[in-house]
């Protein structure tokens, strides 16, 4: 299969525009059902009571924060190795969405921690590595802005994204490698979930809804990036050499 066929920006715009309304519709439906189910219908937990409902936002946010960082790292590697502009744009467009999910996971976790643990925040391995994830996202976004030439910015940011990817398995396994205040994973593939089905189903619906939300916003952001690049290159094209306003950097292989 020739992947370059799908990675062509013009074709991406055409396909993604066709998929977009379906993704947006699925997001609205899944989040609507998931929120009503999780916040109103699902039972209260035997220990936490109603506080358990924070989990329906907290856990999917944390999943997405790590998943989006994974997407960003893969896209960065593809951009770095095969120099594909669409991969760079995917990584760039993902970062603010991932940073948003990371912030939501941190805030909701803190709101849950106060009534359950008795503290807003502790410096255990899970919480600390997750805070580092937020800083990695913010640093990545800042690094893009620090370069005048977007191609050089893309390269520097891609390296940061790859280096920071080391943090993702550390977050995931921090609760298993070291003892932490944060509990271990409830949904692990080996023993089956330690979460009752009536709580698990709305959680998975929210997880799906957050995923389709990510792809919906990603399509919007990548398309916007493609358009702004087009405008930029049109502007550069209009500026004729010799009129003294040339600021274009010519293509360097």
């Amino acid at each position: 299969m020739n992947l370059h066929k799908f990675a062509n920006p013009a074709r991406f715009v055409r396909y993604s525009t066709a998929v977009f309304p379906w993704l947006a519709g699925a997001t609205a439906a899944l989040l609507g059902v998931g929120l009503i189910w999780g916040l109103l219908i699902a039972p209260a937990d035997y220990q936490q009571g109603e506080t358990v409902r924070i989990m329906y936002v907290h856990v999917p946010s944390a999943w997405m924060a790590m998943f989006i960082y994974g997407v960003m790292a893969v896209a960065s590697a593809v951009g770095l190795i095969w120099r594909h502009p669409l991969a760079d744009l995917t990584a760039k467009a993902s970062a603010p969405i991932g940073a948003g999910f990371t912030a939501v996971a941190l805030v909701t976790g803190s709101l849950w921690g106060q009534p359950t643990w008795g503290t807003w925040w502790v410096w255990d391995a899970r919480l600390t590595s997750f805070l580092i994830l937020l800083f990695l996202y913010l640093g990545y976004m800042a690094l893009w802005q620090a370069f005048e030439d977007p191609r050089r910015g893309a390269r520097a940011a891609a390296i940061l994204a790859l280096v920071g990817f080391i943090n993702v398995p550390i977050i995931k396994f921090s609760v298993d490698w070291w003892n932490t205040l944060h509990q271990t994973a409830s949904i692990s593939s080996f023993q089956g979930p330690t979460i009752h089905i009536s709580i698990l189903i709305p959680l998975l619906i929210m997880g799906l809804g957050f995923t389709t939300y990510y792809f919906t916003v990603l399509i919007m952001r990548v398309q916007r990036e493609i358009l702004s690049r087009k405008i930029r290159s049109l502007r550069l094209f209009q500026v004729q050499p010799g009129d003294g306003r040339v600021e274009a950097t010519p293509q360097r292989g």
Binding site: V52, G118, V163, I166, W178, H196
Partner: protein, 153 residues
């Protein structure tokens, strides 16, 4: 070698090196990355009085004693091998009860009692509706955390 192939190898080699470096650093700092020590650690490392550290474990059944001042609680924390007595003055988290996992922050006094300045409840990864837990307890199949009643403050 084609430049693309070369870049691929550079990225792979870079990631592998970083992975090894991270693994070495994390292994070296193992002792500092754990959030709390177990009662067994307290005995094995011979932690001296007035050294501040976090002690974690399960609250021993029938060990919770309220002192006459009404604010101080004395209880025992165990990792099922060793047990340490803890004294804490203050308001306990609502999940605090016998059989519950807790993390306490403080230091040992001269008698070997852990004087805690903070008690945090550790929540486990089990999420169940109340009715399910009640029916499990009725049928005697309940093995979960916190077999005692939740501490109503």
């Amino acid at each position: 070698m084609k430049p693309k192939r070369r870049r691929l190898y550079y990225v792979l080699a870079g990631m592998a090196t970083l992975g090894v470096a991270a693994a070495l650093v994390l292994t070296a700092f193992q002792d500092n990355l754990v959030f709390f020590n177990s009662p067994t650690d307290v005995y094995e490392r011979n932690i001296q009085p007035d050294t501040r550290f976090r002690l974690g474990g399960l609250v021993v059944e029938d060990s919770i004693r309220r002192q006459s001042d009404g604010l101080t609680t004395v209880f025992e924390v165990t990792d099922l091998i060793r047990t340490v007595q803890v004294s804490y003055t203050g308001i306990l988290p609502s999940l605090f009860r016998e059989g519950q996992g807790v993390v306490t922050d403080g230091s040992l006094d001269a008698r070997g009692v852990f004087i805690a300045s903070q008690v945090l409840a550790k929540h486990d990864e089990t999420y169940l509706p109340r009715e399910v837990v009640e029916s499990l307890k009725k049928s005697g199949k309940w093995q979960g955390q916190g077999s005692g009643e939740a501490n109503a403050q």
